[in-house]
């Protein structure tokens, strides 16, 4: 006959072992991805690098602005 105290002494390490294994299997949290800024690097007017196959330039909501608007 195993006393409650002896049972606890036997079970505690087993529970801790299982908990440790479960924790070890959890994949590490992925590092948060920082989105790339849209600023042209180094304050240049045009980004350096190899010319792309296609360069798209786009605007919108210009609402008649043809002069400096501040």
């Amino acid at each position: 006959m195993i006393s409650p105290r002896s049972r606890l002494q036997w079970m505690l390490p087993v529970v801790l072992l299982i908990a440790g294994m479960a924790r070890a299997e959890v994949p590490p949290a992925a590092a948060p991805q920082v989105p790339r800024t849209l600023d042209v690097p180094d304050g240049a007017l045009v980004a350096a690098g190899k010319a792309p196959e296609l360069d798209l330039l786009y605007t919108g909501d210009v609402i008649g602005f043809i002069e400096p608007c501040g």
Binding site: P35, A51, L56
Partner: protein, 264 residues
């Protein structure tokens, strides 16, 4: 290749019409290819729009402006441009254009009809499959909120890029929904978006790198364009012209200052 998401029109006043006409002529001179028709551009209805844009040689399209009560587009619902890529190979660029959905929007259409605004999603669903089959890259010009742009990008994964404008909203960092890039450029022509696209051996989009250029005085002026604008501003009513001419002069001085300091 230059594209515009629409709402290029100023208010329909004497000065506003002059500005809009000048802007359109400038866009033509710069080589804009396709322009989405925005709600503002139809402020005075279809006939006025056709009169203002006649002979410009740019494609004005709309996927979701329709004959009211139908799903019949009034303008070309999409367009495909074949341009020569840097390598010399042809690249087919498919362009759709949508405005925000409004069930109550209504303007005078051609021949006594009315224009209405259909749901962007419904209309994209209709035309995207055939456009995708004809294009190497598909771009959606979007005059709607960023939230709506995300919803469309999430649903239509065959799009490559959603290029938007909606008031002063603009991106500072890359944004996307899955593989679909979403870029907003703000308003008033202060910023211009740039997306550099490369393709794989099967002419599928391999990579897109985007930038947003804030057009400060550090970007050099085009002398011919500046002279042409100055001539238009001189024609404006006296209450407007001095103020604008003064702004142009200040901008020219500010642009010249760093160059002078550099000894150029």
């Amino acid at each position: 290749m230059l594209l515009d998401t629409g709402n290029f029109s100023d208010n329909p006043t004497e000065v506003g019409d002059l500005r809009t006409a000048t802007l359109l002529q400038s866009m033509k001179a710069l080589g804009y290819k396709a322009i989405n028709v925005g709600e503002r551009d139809l402020m005075l209805g279809y006939d006025d729009f056709v009169k203002r844009t006649a002979g410009l040689g740019m494609t004005f399209l709309s996927t979701n402006i329709v004959k009211q009560g139908t799903k019949e587009p009034i303008f070309p619902p999409y367009t495909v441009f074949e341009v020569k890529g840097t390598s010399g190979k042809p690249v087919r660029v498919g362009v759709l254009g949508v405005d925000r959905y409004s069930p109550v929007w209504q303007k005078a259409g051609p021949a006594g009809t009315n224009l209405g605004m259909a749901s962007p999603a419904d209309m994209i669903a209709t035309y995207l499959p055939e456009l995708r089959a004809k294009s190497d890259v598909v771009v959606l010009l979007a005059a709607l909120s960023k939230e709506d742009a995300h919803d469309l990008a999430k649903r239509f994964t065959d799009l490559d890029l959603v290029l938007g404008s909606y008031g002063g909203i603009y991106n500072t960092v890359e944004d996307n929904e899955g593989r679909v890039g979403i870029y907003f450029t703000g308003n008033q022509g202060k910023r211009i978006g740039e997306s550099r696209v490369t393709f794989d051996a099967k002419s599928r989009v391999a990579d897109v790198t985007s930038y947003l250029h804030f057009l400060t005085v550090h970007y050099p002026e085009d002398k011919a364009m500046q002279d042409s604008l100055a001539a238009v501003l001189a024609k404006m009513p006296k209450t407007e012209a001095p103020k604008k001419a003064e702004l142009l002069k200040k901008q020219a001085e500010a642009a010249a200052a760093p160059a002078a300091a550099d000894g150029h």
